[in-house]
């Protein structure tokens, strides 16, 4: 049997430059992004950013992988029961072995938020709970007004993908989603719709880091 050969760091870099261009690749290679919540949004965003060559990801989630997550989140059947931060770190290292990871199996609160976000160039809000979303966004905007923040609201239900948009709310605050489809009102969660919203967030992050988002 042939042994597996993982491409070198330099091969990865050349491949990224070929597909993304020198400027974007160089900017991403210097960036740190904190992803708060590793569910349907966060697990997809993390994989996008790791593949794109972001230098470091900070991964935060208090939950374990559940069988109901497998329908839309980037985990495997063999990982059910495992903390999401550990499971996602394993999967990211298989996909993008040179990404730096710091991961926390913790719930983000007003008291501990600094630890997760202080060194990040961009904070990504990827929770599912609306009160947790509100807490994180308010804390980051109050304590770190110069930090870029990319949040999400509204990706449940069965509407078409085009109702999901990215809006710039203020100087450093971006919001993705349709703004209204609420899973707590009994709406479905469909993987492609959640992934569209995750892709909006990941693209916004890449655009901000590359100086393309004005």
């Amino acid at each position: 049997m042939e042994s597996v050969r993982i491409p070198s760091r330099e091969e990865f870099r050349r491949a990224l430059v070929q597909k993304q261009g020198e400027q974007i690749t160089e900017k991403l290679a210097q960036a740190t992004v904190a992803i708060c919540g590793l569910g349907g949004l966060g697990s997809n965003i993390a994989i996008c950013l790791a593949r794109a060559g972001v230098k470091k990801l900070v991964l935060v989630d208090f939950d374990n992988v559940d069988v109901t997550n497998l329908q839309r989140q980037q985990f495997k059947a063999s990982q059910v029961g495992k903390p999401k931060n550990i499971a996602l770190a394993e999967n990211l290292k298989e996909i993008a072995p040179y990404v730096e990871l710091e991961s926390f199996n913790e719930k983000v609160t007003e008291a501990n938020i600094d630890k997760f976000v202080k060194d990040a160039d961009i904070v990504c809000e990827a929770f599912d709970n609306p009160e947790a979303k509100s807490m994180l966004v308010n804390e980051v905007l109050e304590k770190y007004p110069q930090k870029n923040l990319v949040a999400a609201s509204g990706m449940a239900g069965t509407d078409d993908a085009n109702s999901i948009k990215t809006r710039k709310i203020s100087r450093h605050f971006y919001l993705c989603g349709d703004g209204k489809s609420d899973v707590t009102k009994g709406l479905e969660l469909l993987a492609p719709r959640v992934m569209v919203c995750a892709a909006h967030q990941a693209l916004t992050i890449i655009r901000i880091l590359s100086g393309l988002q004005v």
Partner: protein, 68 residues
């Protein structure tokens, strides 16, 4: 219609003179699920009851719904 309205989420609203807390209650917002920006600055939740909306203010109320 108030001739000097406040712009809230892109709409002209006769809310000048109200505190943010008063406006949020009148419009049935759940303050645990929102973020409020006034003239591009975040309004801390602890200040909702003291900040009075003025004519010409531009306010964004971001409402968070569940799912992710």
């Amino acid at each position: 219609m108030n001739s000097n309205p406040v712009k809230i989420n892109g709409e002209d609203v006769a809310a000048a003179g109200m505190t943010i807390a008063e406006y949020l209650a009148s419009a049935n917002y759940d303050t645990k699920r929102i973020a409020v920006e006034r003239n591009l600055e975040i309004v801390p939740k602890a200040k909702y009851a003291e900040v009075v909306l003025e004519a010409g203010d531009v306010v964004e109320i971001v409402n968070f719904v569940g799912g992710g």
